[in-house]
């Protein structure tokens, strides 16, 4: 059973015209071009490359999963699951789809793709992958990665991941993504050749920036708080849901025990025999109905989990902003201090403590030539610094603009998706109630009463009183 993302996502729409043209390596125009990996956050250049538009619609699906064994990096036998990715193009005119590509990928390759996207699109809220290990399990659910149910849910999650990327106006044009879908061999090497790992910001740097930054954009600070809250509330909800599922499972399954006892009992009971048999049967059916019900609920849980992981993606964008902002602040600070140094040298006044000042005091003044040389160096540095500051500033502002645009997009997507998920939860509850209701009335109408009373009691109140009278009087004193 597939978790169905809203239809538009299934098909790649032509990307809307965007003034903030990140210079993506257009897929159409990618032929022969080296994959730049469209990472540079801003260029003032407006690259509305018309070649990038998809004229055809594309369907992507992760249709199968297969267990495989192979040798891993340490040359040891390992078992893993591979997933079949199929790409179809749908012709405009007749809506027929033609299989254009199909290849197998494993989970680690998906992870690689995502890491790459994170580095090259730090201003984008990059869709998350389905969980690596099963969490929030209730007791019957297996936490084993090889468990078929888990694999099936992961397959759906991976398909969802690809569809989200494919429907993102910017990410869909990335060449590496395109190659992921089309180039079976050597894709890993191609990705690594982009050198994206080197471009990644170090965790330490990011952490440092988070603590030290003085003036981050307030919207990002708020966003960070929001994502923390989102993560905590969804985790809580998933935990309780798992416990509720556990208990519900217990209630249904214990009813099943009645089934066996009733059938054994019906063997000795002459008059009640039929009733007991039928009741027992219904108990069994009731007890087994819970399995499907809870399977459906797992899909709901998966929908929530996606947004749980999205919280982390949001935080990544915030972190990047903080890093850039911190960088900017540091650069500004550096520039300011250099300017001051220069000024001091020029004017000869020493206002701040500096090592140079000390050594000058200790070892005597430096020669005018030396001073001139130093001033010159400083002035060059200041110039450079000013240039850098300007470009950093520009970068920062571009980043904020682009990131915020994507965040707005994300917010709308999230509201739509979560609302849909909640509604689907209600639909699930309704179907569970209906299912259980179809089982119960028969329990009382058929089995328990009729055998002895020889009377089919109507489950609705339609029959006329007189027929009921006939039924009743016909039954009295049935010894």
């Amino acid at each position: 059973m597939e978790q169905a993302p809203p239809d538009p996502e299934r098909q790649l729409q032509p990307a809307p015209l965007e003034p903030l043209g990140s210079p993506d390596a257009g897929l159409g125009a990618a032929v022969g071009k080296e994959a730049e990996g469209a990472g540079e956050e801003s260029s003032g250049v407006d690259t509305m490359t018309h070649n990038n538009f998809w004229l055809k619609k594309i369907e992507i699906s992760v249709s199968e999963a297969e267990k495989r064994t192979g040798r891993n990096a340490m040359n040891m036998q390992e078992t893993y699951t591979a997933y079949l990715i199929e790409t179809r193009s749908v012709e405009h005119t007749d809506g027929q789809s033609v299989l254009t590509d199909s290849l197998w990928r494993r989970y680690s390759e998906f992870e690689l793709l995502r890491s790459y996207l994170l580095v090259y699109y730090p201003h984008i809220v990059v869709p998350p992958l389905p969980e690596k290990r099963a969490e929030f399990v209730w007791h019957k659910l297996s936490a084993d990665n090889m468990d078929p149910d888990f694999v099936e849910r992961r397959r759906i999650g991976l398909e969802n991941f690809l569809l989200r990327i494919a429907s993102h106006p910017i990410l869909c044009r990335d060449k590496i993504f395109y190659l992921f879908l089309t180039q079976e061999g050597n894709w890993k090497e191609t990705v690594n050749e982009t050198g994206f790992q080197l471009k990644a910001d170090s965790r330490l740097k990011a952490l440092n920036a988070t603590f030290r930054v003085k003036n981050p954009d307030k919207r990002f600070t708020d966003l960070k708080h929001y994502s923390d809250e989102l993560q905590s509330v969804i985790s809580h909800l998933l935990r309780v849901r798992a416990r509720v599922a556990d208990r519900l499972y217990g209630v249904y399954k214990v009813h099943g025990n009645y089934g066996r006892v009733f059938s054994e009992w019906s063997a000795i009971e002459k008059e009640m025999g039929d009733g007991l048999q039928s009741a027992g049967h219904h108990m069994d059916v009731y007890a087994s109905s819970i399995d499907d019900i809870l399977e459906d609920e797992e899909h709901y849980a998966d929908q929530l989990k996606e947004y749980l992981f999205y919280a982390e993606a949001l935080r990544a964008v915030c972190r990047k902003h903080e890093l850039m902002q911190y960088d900017l602040e540091m650069a500004a600070q550096d520039l300011a201090s250099k300017k001051q140094q220069c000024e001091e040298l020029v004017t000869g006044t020493v206002r701040t403590f500096s090592l140079k000042g000390m050594t000058t005091k200790l070892f005597g003044q430096e020669t005018p030539e030396q001073r001139e040389a130093r001033i010159k160096v400083l002035e060059e540095q200041i110039n450079e610094g000013e240039q850098q500051l300007k470009s950093k500033n520009l970068e920062g502002r571009e980043f904020v603009k682009n990131a915020w645009a994507d965040i707005e997009r994300f917010k709308e997507q999230k509201n739509r998706d979560l609302k849909e998920a909640l509604i689907s939860y209600a639909v699930m509850q309704i179907s569970m109630c209906k299912k259980s209701l179809t089982l119960s009335p028969r329990l009382e109408c058929n089995g328990m009463i009729s055998a002895h009373y020889n009377l089919r009691l109507p489950c609705s109140s339609n029959s006329t009183s007189s027929s009921r009278v006939a039924g009743i009087t016909g039954v009295c004193h049935h010894a």
Binding site: H236, V240, V251, V254, Y258, G275, A426, S465, H477
Partner: protein, 473 residues
């Protein structure tokens, strides 16, 4: 056929009234005193739990009016008035109660051929503290129109020990009748304090059942000790108790009984063999069912506990989501409503199913005892016959003794047979009723949850349509 004349009217009214009481949680079915009909129809049931009648006369009109007045619950009133109209006009109005449950009950009291003339309630547990001990007494109110009772209304207080005494006396007087079971002395598992409220309430209900079952039993209801139990003042009762066969003689009886039972039963008649098998199997099954039912209750309780936490999380979430506030709050309220429905379902289970099943667990133990006693009586006869055959003891008196014993055995067997049929009927009906109740509770539960979620869904779709139309320029 249910006689719907005046006499039958009173009984039916009474039974109907009892039934409405029953709707509040007690559905005990025991057969009305029907002296001539041991297997009186499949449906010869009048719901137990006799209602105290303020007036003592048997006039149907008075009864009817007063019963109607007493009814507070709208639903009960409605159902009851339908029943009354049934009785009155001897025709059936189209406004029949739709629940199959009420239909069963109608079937039952229409079949009443005899007046139920003894109504007992057990209520108002009170704690008494003396220097030696603390104990609970229960108030027992008896209303009757029987001639052999001095008055028409009695109120006494009894404690558990007194019930035990009564049971012992009944067993003595009628060794092969199926005496209703008493609730256990105490439940070992999970009992911290002997007198916690739930325990007392459960016991009270069971004691109420106990007395009513005796009252409904064709033979036991006329037992003298029973009458004394219901009517005597405390001091009268204790002096009466002391009058019984002394401790030593009772012990003697027990010794004889044990001795004879040790000889084993060689010639248990075929029908009693069957009975024994049934009892053994029944005992197995009912114990299992008891365990399962307790377990279901436990699981439902734990489910309820978890659900209580589930709704509020959505409220918490709505605090950080501007656009989803309403949806989340609605979901939370739906969950809370389903939670309440679960609670109702649980309480239905604990009031309708669990006590019934448990009573029959005790009954099954009781039945084994009855079989034993029957076997003992027979064994006594057999041993005398043996003595005669082998000329072991003084043979002059033996034939006379044997004659008496043969009579005794025949009496005992017949009594048991008759009572057995009656008990089986009751058992089948009770168990059926209990499970039907449970099924109905389940149905109500699911119907309620369904309605809750469906209304949520409609409100969401309506909202969506509203928004859509708002967007249109």
């Amino acid at each position: 056929m249910g006689t719907l004349g005046g006499a039958g009217l009173a009984a039916a009214v009474a039974a109907g009234r009892a039934r409405t009481l029953g709707m509040e949680g007690e559905r005990r079915a025991s057969q009305a005193p029907s002296s001539g009909l041991p297997a009186g129809g499949a449906d010869g049931e009048s719901p137990g739990g006799g209602a105290p009648f303020p007036g003592s006369s048997g006039s149907s009109a008075v009864l009817q009016a007063e019963v109607l007045d007493l009814d507070e619950d709208e639903d009960d009133l409605e159902v009851f008035s339908k029943d009354a109209s049934l009785m009155d006009m001897n025709s059936f109005s189209p406004m029949m109660p739709t629940s199959p449950l009420s239909m069963i009950n109608q079937i039952k009291f229409e079949d009443e051929s005899d007046l139920k003339d003894l109504f007992i309630t057990v209520d108002e547990p009170e704690s008494h503290v003396t220097t030696i001990e603390t104990f609970i007494t229960y108030r027992i109110i008896t209303k009757t129109s029987r001639g052999e009772f001095d008055s028409s209304e009695f109120e006494v207080r009894r404690r558990y020990q007194d019930f035990l005494w009564l049971k012992g006396k009944l067993e003595e007087a009628h060794p092969t009748l199926i005496i209703p079971p008493l609730p256990e002395k105490f439940i070992v598992k999970g009992m911290v304090e002997r007198f916690n409220d739930d325990f007392i309430e459960t016991r009270r209900k069971a004691l109420h059942k106990f007395l009513n079952r005796i009252a409904d039993h064709p033979t036991l209801t006329f037992n003298e000790d029973f009458k004394i139990f219901l009517t005597a003042q405390a001091w009268e009762l204790s002096s009466h108790k002391k009058q019984g066969p002394g401790l030593l003689s009772r012990m003697g009886q027990t010794v004889r009984a044990v001795a004879s039972s040790m000889r084993g039963v060689k010639n248990r008649p075929e029908e009693f063999m069957e009975m024994n098998n049934f009892i053994e199997l029944f005992s197995q099954k009912i114990n299992l069912i008891d365990k399962i039912s307790q377990r279901i209750y436990k699981e439902e309780r734990e489910y309820f506990d978890e659900m209580k936490e589930y709704g509020p999380i959505h409220i918490l979430w709505s605090a950080s989501e501007e656009d989803l506030v309403d949806t989340l709050k609605d979901v939370a309220s739906c969950i809370d409503r389903c939670c309440k429905a679960t609670e109702k379902r649980m309480s239905g289970l604990s009031e309708a199913l669990l006590p019934v099943v448990h009573e029959y667990v005790l009954y099954s133990e009781m039945l084994m005892g009855v079989m034993k006693r029957r076997d003992q009586i027979q064994a006594e006869l057999d041993s005398k016959v043996e003595a005669l055959t082998y000329k072991k003891a003084d043979t002059d008196l033996l034939p006379e003794e044997i004659g008496k014993l043969e009579d005794k055995v025949e009496c005992a067997n017949n009594a048991l047979k008759a009572d057995w049929e009656r008990w089986k009927q009751n058992m089948q009906n009770d168990i059926k009723l209990a499970f039907t109740d449970m099924a109905e509770e389940n149905i109500h539960y699911y119907e309620q949850c369904l309605a809750t979620w469906e209304s949520f869904l409609t409100s969401q779709t309506n909202l969506h349509l509203e928004e859509a139309s708002e967007d249109k320029p």
